[in-house]
């Protein structure tokens, strides 16, 4: 792996554990086994690194959460697979993200202190919400959801539920509670099927 990628991955690990502000460039340099010069060869500032880390975190997010979705024809089944991936793969990926979901960590840390950076994190949240909403809309059109389902309200429930599950799991690391929360979301989604 080249030094740039090593720095990005070590920064990702440190940001996920300690947040952005409490992680110094020196922490990152030490973790990456780099020199100051090596760091500044690749990044002009910590903020430039932040954006590179966010890109990498988004790549990991997609890789983990979208695994297997393409093979599923049915949009509501895709949402269920996303929920299962989130619970079974993404939140449990302690190698890349030892501190849990980096987007929640960074957004809670930065919302008051560095709103511009928090805004960048927020873009990903908006993207996830539109993806869920789009799938629900398609599921409604194809008759997988009851006619008259308020897909926007369902999107809010699923999205808030995912973020909430992330906060809960962050504190107690209880697989049992995580399963219970995500299963409650799946159950909620199942009840919106026209057969129920």
């Amino acid at each position: 792996m080249d030094l740039k990628q090593t720095i990005i991955l070590e920064a990702l690990r440190l940001f996920s554990l300690k947040g952005y502000l409490s992680t110094s460039i020196q922490d990152i340099i030490s973790a990456a086994g780099a020199s100051k010069g090596g760091f500044y060869n690749h990044f002009r500032s910590k903020e430039e690194l932040f954006h590179a880390v966010l890109d990498e975190a988004r790549r990991i997010w997609r890789e983990n959460n979208l695994a297997g979705l393409e093979a599923i024809p049915n949009p509501i089944e895709k949402v269920k697979k996303l929920l299962a991936n989130f619970k079974d793969i993404y939140l449990r990926d302690t190698q890349c993200l030892p501190g849990g979901c980096i987007f929640v960590t960074l957004s809670v840390e930065l919302d008051d202190q560095m709103p511009d950076l928090a805004h960048e994190v927020n873009k990903g949240f908006e993207g996830l919400k539109s993806m869920i909403n789009g799938l629900l809309e398609r599921g409604k059109e194809s008759g997988e959801l009851k006619a008259g389902t308020d897909t926007q309200a369902v999107t809010e429930m699923i999205f808030a539920g995912l973020l909430g599950a992330t906060v809960i799991y962050g504190v107690d690391k209880s697989s049992e509670k995580l399963d219970r929360t995500i299963n409650a979301l799946l159950d909620y989604l199942n009840r919106l099927s026209p057969d129920r």
Copy 2:
């Protein structure tokens, strides 16, 4: 107000904005207009202050979120009032908690870095969950919820939804989106009524 209380309230404001670790005792002393001696007269350490701040935050939480609940006889209506209070009073209380819900901020910040303190925060989460679950159980017994409702799953949905709404509102401070999320939770609860 005495100095001890001033220190607690200024620490509460600062922790809510910057988190626990990034707030120094000096920051708190300056904000409270105190001296180092004045601080250590009341608190042996930042950690002792943490516990006093948590107590005060819990008092504010109860005052805001439980307002008017006692006068409501009906348990499910109590849950709805709690959700409305959370949205209309608690999260918007920018005077005490300019950085939003301090419990979410602290739990996300501390879960990896100071698990013992995060565990203290977590106790409040568990308390809220048992309160919601108890009300749902009573509502089910009195026929306000459909027979067979899985109250534990509903509790998970409401609790995760509240935490998720807090994270979302923290980033974008959008009242409109907050209303939408909490209204989706209320709608979910309404659909569990036997008349639906």
